[in-house]
Symmetry: C2
Subunit: 213 residues, 2 copies
């Protein structure tokens, strides 16, 4: 039996800093990222909780120019369509936002859910099958936080047609696309969410999100 670690106030303060400076990064320096570090981060991501210990996350390291180009074209198309949904000031603001670092991020990592995994024998997901998908989402965030602790920035690109992501990367059709991640050393750091800084949205007060029963 191992002794559980006691986390002290120094660690907790640093951990809170990590949560604040985690941020979604869309501008990356060209410095290369050590491949072993990426594999280490994927190992840490696998420490995420998963329903029934199903570990349904699948990682695809996207390196070939052809695959990256398919994602870039997918994003450009979807982003143009999304822009057309706004008008006036909001459209101007949207058009000026940099919403992905696909061009400059040295590492591209796609994360999928394998919904047909036998692992876990279905425990815990009879009433809420979506918890399988949630497990893959938690692996993404684990990797994100761990990356930041190594000074790396991560940007989650969701403005993509998920079916085309699978086609472009030649992964099984039945895998569900969860996240497309751009990873690299950030060009700038800021603890304030980019969409808050640029006036897109404000922070909600705790009274708006907490009730008692």
């Amino acid at each position: 039996m191992l002794n559980a670690p006691e986390f002290d106030e120094t660690f907790r303060k640093q951990f809170e800093e990590l949560l604040k400076w985690r941020r979604d990064v869309r501008s990356f320096r060209s410095d290369p990222v050590d491949g072993q570090l990426i594999e280490h981060l994927i190992g840490l991501a696998s420490l995420a909780p998963s329903v029934g210990y199903s570990q349904p996350w699948r990682f695809v390291l996207v390196e070939s120019p052809e695959c990256r180009e398919s994602i870039r074209a997918n994003f450009e198309h979807c982003n143009r369509e999304a822009l057309s949904l706004y008008s006036g000031e909001k459209a101007k603001l949207y058009a000026n936002l940099k919403l992905a670092g696909l061009g400059d991020a040295p590492v591209h990592l796609a994360v999928f859910l394998d919904p047909h995994t036998d692992c876990g024998s279905g425990l815990g997901k009879t009433t809420m099958p979506e918890t399988l998908e949630y497990s893959a989402v938690l692996a993404v965030y684990t990797l994100w936080l761990a990356a930041r602790s190594h000074g790396l920035g991560v940007g989650w690109v969701s403005i993509l047609d998920p079916v085309e992501v699978n086609q472009g990367l030649s992964v099984p059709n039945e895998w569900k696309s969860i996240a497309y991640l751009c990873i690299g050393y950030p060009r700038e750091d800021d603890p304030t969410p980019e969409l808050l800084r640029h006036g897109w949205e404000n922070r909600l007060p705790v009274t708006d999100i907490l009730i008692k029963r």
Copy 2:
């Protein structure tokens, strides 16, 4: 402009310990938990990433005996149904697993998604609307990790009928039930997932979860 914190090797090692000792906890000591600490943890949870900075998470602190009883009855019913899906050794193993700490956890916290929030103006979720749900999931995990850094254990109960959760807690029907969390000081600590320790499932090797393209 603030200076970004530099995380050192000491912090990274402790953070990896936090990920390993995070665990899903199902047995709690009866010691009370400071209410201010819970509100602090909910504040930290709101630092989770959210699509378009939509902050769609809603927290319900469940304190009344009536509401807690509705959840306990919901779990008992769903867990019996789930057990009936297994047979032989797997059924015996399932029946012996303690899958929730609803009876002994001093704090019960339900987490919902408000899918109709205007916050974020829909940015980033046109092609993948499920990212709104993912945002609420990330808030759960942020709270979970932060709680562990304070020595608290969290158990995520998913063996619940989500529609009945809303009814039992009198929250709007359109909110989506994401997680029901039991929180308290754990009766035991272990860095090995309970379902791995009890022989339910094994850890997948990295070769099973990583491919290159």
